[in-house]
Subunit: 339 residues, 2 copies
């Protein structure tokens, strides 16, 4: 049996209530009593039982972190550990713990989120992704669960706290840059199209084209679904068109390098024949051949701010939803070249 508050009370010759107050550092307890009690706690090696404490406090001091349990290449990137590091820093500061979803399918994740929030295992939730028609988000919203989203939510942005890059602007900036290099046939190899981040970047891409009066070519857009485990074929098809693109924007550095390898198989050189830009600024991207032009999306800050936002909601149920835009910066390296 573990040491309880009663054991401490007995040794310190006070009531359990007093021990409890000492733990909470209640101002009205005599310094002398506090000393006595703390001595007893140390002597017995007392640690408060979270379950009991949280049961009466009606909170858990934990945040649920919900991720897509996907295995795609994009998820091999350092996004996850890095965003978690940001979340950790904020949570740790506020003495909150992190509770991770373990489910694999969407339905299971949904059930897990319902159980962890209803069962008071967590006080709030961070959604590490944002996609269309997400029933998990709908549930959180409908049930007044404090939560925040990494990414712009598909619905009711005014009612939801979220952190995001300005994906439309940064994608436009990337494409503008390529256009300024003389490219007009620019391909967009994006993530899953039901993710908001993908559709936002596609919007930015189209805006840039429109402004430059370059017609939009649907054949230049390759979605995750289109690749569907057949990445190489998809790239092959893209490049075998009558008018192949001279530049490619991809949604992730690792994907960019994968694409580059397929291009090499087709005897297409980067950047000589095709320019390419990635996203996420992977640590390796400056070391590899070619050094990759990419977008630094401030992953750490995305996590940090997402945690700050849920915490804000948890601490004040009436806190107005806020959204935070975290900088995204185009880093030019040698994978792009003017035409």
């Amino acid at each position: 049996m573990a040491i309880t508050i009663k054991d401490v009370a007995r040794l310190a010759e006070v009531s359990p209530a007093t021990v409890s107050r000492v733990i909470a550092d209640h101002p009205k307890i005599t310094p002398k009593t506090k000393r006595k009690v703390r001595l007893a706690m140390d002597e017995l090696g007392y640690y408060p039982n979270f379950q009991a404490r949280n049961l009466v406090a009606q909170k858990s001091k934990a945040i649920g972190v919900v991720m897509e349990n996907s295995t795609t290449l994009a998820f091999q990137n350092p996004f996850f550990p890095e965003v978690l590091r940001g979340i950790s820093v904020s949570a740790h500061q506020s003495q909150y713990g992190l509770y991770l979803s373990t489910s694999a399918t969407e339905q299971e994740i949904y059930e897990e989120v319902v159980a962890m929030t209803q069962g008071k295992r967590v006080d709030g939730v961070i959604l590490l992704y944002s996609k269309m028609d997400d029933k998990i988000l709908d549930y959180l919203l409908a049930n007044g669960v404090p939560f925040s989203v990494v990414g712009r939510p598909y619905t009711r942005p005014d009612a939801i706290s979220y952190v995001d890059n300005d994906n439309i602007a940064i994608a436009k900036e990337v494409v503008d840059h390529l256009i300024s290099l003389g490219h007009r046939d620019i391909s967009f190899v994006g993530g899953a199209s039901d993710f908001i981040v993908s559709s936002d970047r596609l919007s930015g891409y189209r805006q840039a084209l429109a402004e430059a009066e370059i017609p939009f070519t649907p054949e230049y857009v390759v979605t995750q679904e289109a690749m569907e485990g057949q990445e190489q074929q998809a790239i092959c098809k893209l490049m075998k068109q009558k008018k192949p693109p001279t530049a490619i924007v991809t949604h992730d550095d690792l994907v960019a390098y994968e694409v580059i390898s397929y291009l090499e198989d087709l005897n297409i050189a980067v950047p000589a024949d095709v320019s390419i830009v990635g996203f996420n600024n992977h640590t390796l991207s400056s070391h590899l051949k070619p050094p990759l032009s990419t977008v630094d999306i401030s992953i750490f800050d995305l996590g940090l701010e997402a945690a700050n936002l849920v915490l804000e909601k948890i601490n004040d149920g009436n806190a107005a939803p806020r959204n935070i835009v975290v900088p995204a910066t185009l880093i030019e390296r040698a994978s792009c070249q003017s035409l």
Copy 2:
């Protein structure tokens, strides 16, 4: 206020005790009563409160996952998400949740682990790393906390459940392979030297040399500490020796590619001038130039088995410690060449 067992009891016209038994699917409750109660639960949208349930059960149904909160390049690799995926699968199967450490410094992590185990926030712990003189491991061992380690523990291996590759054997195999290609001047660029995985691999390296009667050259060993943020200089120094190595074994694929980029800066080509082998079989390593020979260490399985092992300990305090060896396989690609 959330729906409690009492509300369900009232609606179903039974006692709270009965509702509790229905939740536990107690065999002695009439099917008719069960039906009635379940109907009431559905109608009210009842979810059991974990805190209360765990308080009386004296368990938490959660596993603490403790990681080094390091930011080094090696931790940018997919090890973390992948090992977590393995852990998740096992934990989810047993209906356990995952609780993550959020601390940054060793001392803070220690305190966090003590608090989460003593405070019954978790029933057991998985240590995602194994290093020398680890007070966290000492604490877990001394206090009878159920735990498992990813990696061979520095002490009392017979008393501890752990998963590991046979790092000595696989490192030896890698070096044997290089020797069979005619290399004799082989460098070892390892991780932090207080990590068991590093020292084990170094042992395997030395064994292979010894068997081939190649003298051990201390200058060929570059530790994490030696690099200390000055990776490029360290590699420079390594290659500027009177007799530079013709082959390099690194502890991680990303590090390998970083090294390759420094070699290129020195006008040393891989594999023409120097052969190189990595570890961890990063998804990208088959796509990059050169495709990297590497060791697949079955990261997913490391996580899966580590979770199985803690769970075993949690479910049976007297379960004998076990250790599981997970396969490590050398994958030959184009980054090695015979001399």
